[in-house]
């Protein structure tokens, strides 16, 4: 009797010890992974001289908003592009937002009916699905080089249009693949049942399928948005001065002589915000998205 009490007690204290160790480990790992993120935001409030401190820290010693004001006001110029310095960041934000939103809308408009059809009717067997998936796996650089010459011939380089079109290269296959998975989750019997009640095929699609797959549609559009927002290669090749996305503005800072690190990190902080919001609020679906639906999570 006495012995059993003793062992269970020991077991319990052992368990709490393990629990404590686990929590400490989680906190340490989380700190390591978030350190660079904190560094971005902390650095954006630092003065330039603090970056040349040989005992650097994550958090600014004398926080200042100067980086943001100068980044928005624009004293500094990027070297490689011809865009005038004034309002470069504002333009970057505006262009990035505009491109991401338009591309997302365009993508979903095309992807939703396509993915529904592929999920329900499987036209052309699995061939079309496979074709779409394989585009997703292509290194973008392979599409980019030929497209550059094609777009040059048509004469649409350095315009919004060229990014609207070219971002479909990765957004469209991705969104079709993801929403297809969500449409497949809707039981076929349900759709058949309402068709029995006299719903037309289109009404089934609009009134049943889309509302039931709305979380999938939301996930796909948020991914499309973030992919466009983060995209660097296409904008660096297809656009020069008339269109300037945020990643491009950032990329130019590195090339410029005497980098203003604080300003760079201020721009980086702004560019990082959508990703951070998405990570926190969409976490349930991120694994599903990034495994192309293979893990339902």
């Amino acid at each position: 009797m006495d012995a059993t009490v003793h062992t269970t007690e020991r077991k319990r204290s052992g368990k709490t010890l393990i629990k404590v160790i686990r929590y400490v480990a989680i906190v340490i790992i989380l700190a390591i992974f978030l350190l660079p993120v904190l560094f971005i935001f902390g650095g954006s409030f630092k003065t330039q001289s603090e970056f040349y401190d040989t005992s650097p820290s994550i958090f600014p010693k004398a926080p200042t908003l100067a980086n943001y004001t100068s980044a928005f006001g624009g004293e500094k110029t990027g070297t490689t592009t011809g865009f005038t310095a004034k309002g470069r960041l504002t333009k970057g934000i505006k262009d990035s937002l505009m491109i991401s939103v338009v591309v997302t809308l365009l993508t979903m408009l095309i992807a939703i009916p396509a993915s529904y059809s592929l999920a329900r009717y499987k036209p052309g067997g699995d061939q079309i699905s496979f074709f779409i998936l394989s585009i997703l796996f292509l290194p973008p650089v392979i599409g980019v080089l030929p497209l550059f010459f094609i777009f040059k011939t048509i004469g649409i380089l350095d315009s919004y249009l060229v990014l609207f079109i070219s971002h479909l290269f990765f957004d469209l296959p991705f969104c079709i693949w993801i929403t297809k998975g969500f449409f497949e989750d809707i039981p076929l019997e349900l759709e058949q049942a309402v068709m029995v009640d006299g719903f037309s095929r289109f009404r089934v699609f609009f009134k049943i399928a889309i509302p039931l797959a709305k979380s999938g549609i939301a996930v796909a559009s948020l991914f499309a948005f973030i992919f466009s927002w983060n995209e660097l290669m296409f904008s660096s090749i297809f656009t020069r001065s008339k269109v300037q996305t945020l990643p491009l503005v950032l990329q130019d800072y590195i090339g410029s002589a005497g980098i203003s690190w604080g300003e760079l990190l201020a721009v980086a902080s702004i560019a990082a915000i959508p990703g951070i919001l998405l990570a926190i609020f969409m976490q349930r679906y991120i694994v599903r998205g990034l495994t192309f639906g293979a893990v339902k999570g």
Binding site: Y23, P113, L133
Partner: protein, 308 residues
């Protein structure tokens, strides 16, 4: 109930008009996406294959001419291509191994539910969704040999930090590897966590009843059951690292010299910096062949899993 069944079978007539109409609807819904993707992907593909057989340099005024397999022949003998190729493979192998091990450890830590777990998971996913150009510039700054925090923290451990990206191929690749691992380990660990959570609890209870030692349970039960997840991770990371561009482009820019170029960056530089289009196209074709094989494996893998 019975009435419903009768109605259902009536509603699904197998007459031809019905099927034809259904087919038409199905195809017309896919058509816009299909056409766009053909134009965006297949058009360039033909352009690429065609030009990979031509000598086409924008820096030379001579018009492009057909040269057969010469570009491919040169590519095979090009040390820079093989350097980029081996860099990509090194990043792939090291990345997959490190991220799997770290990811598994973290997944095991997060396995048991606790308060705030969803917040922790959300915070944890931040590196995956921030633009690679943002994380790239940040890491570049953090890895600065003199003013960077990484070397500063290393100095507490009495380690003299290296020059990182400025020094040589080894440290350059290591920098890219660190950033890639930092960015993708959270994703890997959450895939494994999903795998862990899909393992039925009963088999652990059964093992407990049988008095199996914890590490035996782990190696004999947990790991084998996670096999499909590991396969998926290997596949996805292979695909992603195979086309790695942004981190390399931002962190080392392929340097010093061309030492840390990845295949994508190599192709980009050949095409957009040296303007040797034909040559770049032949490098692209090689990568496509590799990718088609991978896509096939992925599709086989996912369709098989659904069947089980």
């Amino acid at each position: 109930m019975k009435r419903n069944k009768v109605k259902l079978s009536l509603a699904l007539p197998s007459n031809r008009i019905f099927l034809d109409q259904r087919k038409k609807v199905a195809f017309s819904m896919v058509l816009p996406a299909f056409i766009i993707l053909i134009l965006l992907a297949v058009g360039p593909l033909f352009f690429m294959i065609f030009n990979s057989f031509r000598a086409w340099k924008l820096s030379v005024p001579a018009p492009p001419r057909f040269v057969g397999l010469k570009n491919y022949w040169m590519l095979i003998q090009d040390g820079r291509f093989w350097n980029a190729f081996s860099n990509t493979i090194i990043l792939m192998v090291c990345g997959i191994i490190a991220q799997s091990i770290l990811g598994l450890g973290i997944a095991l830590l997060l396995r048991e539910n606790f308060r705030l777990r969803s917040l922790v998971v959300g915070l944890f996913l931040i590196p995956v969704l921030i633009a690679p150009v943002v994380t790239g510039v940040t890491w570049r700054l953090m890895l600065h040999n003199e003013f960077g925090v990484v070397n500063y923290y290393l100095s507490f451990l009495n380690i003299e930090g290296p020059l990182w990206i400025q020094s040589n191929r080894f440290w350059g690749l290591l920098s890219i590897f660190i950033v890639d691992t930092w960015q993708w380990t959270p994703f890997v660990s959450l895939v494994l966590l999903a795998g862990l959570e899909s393992i039925p609890q009963q088999i652990y209870e059964a093992a407990d009843v049988d008095g199996a030692a914890p590490f035996r349970v782990f190696f004999k039960m947990t790991l084998p059951l996670l096999r499909p997840m590991f396969l998926l991770i290997i596949l996805l990371r292979t695909i992603f690292i195979f086309k790695i561009f942004d981190p390399v482009f931002v962190i080392t820019e392929g340097g010093p010299g061309v030492a840390t170029e990845s295949l994508s960056l190599f192709t980009y530089y050949i095409g957009m910096k040296h303007f040797d289009i034909g040559y770049a196209m032949s490098a692209g074709v090689i990568q496509i062949i590799f990718m088609i094989i991978l896509a096939n494996v992925f599709l086989k893998f996912t369709t098989r899993k659904k069947g089980v």
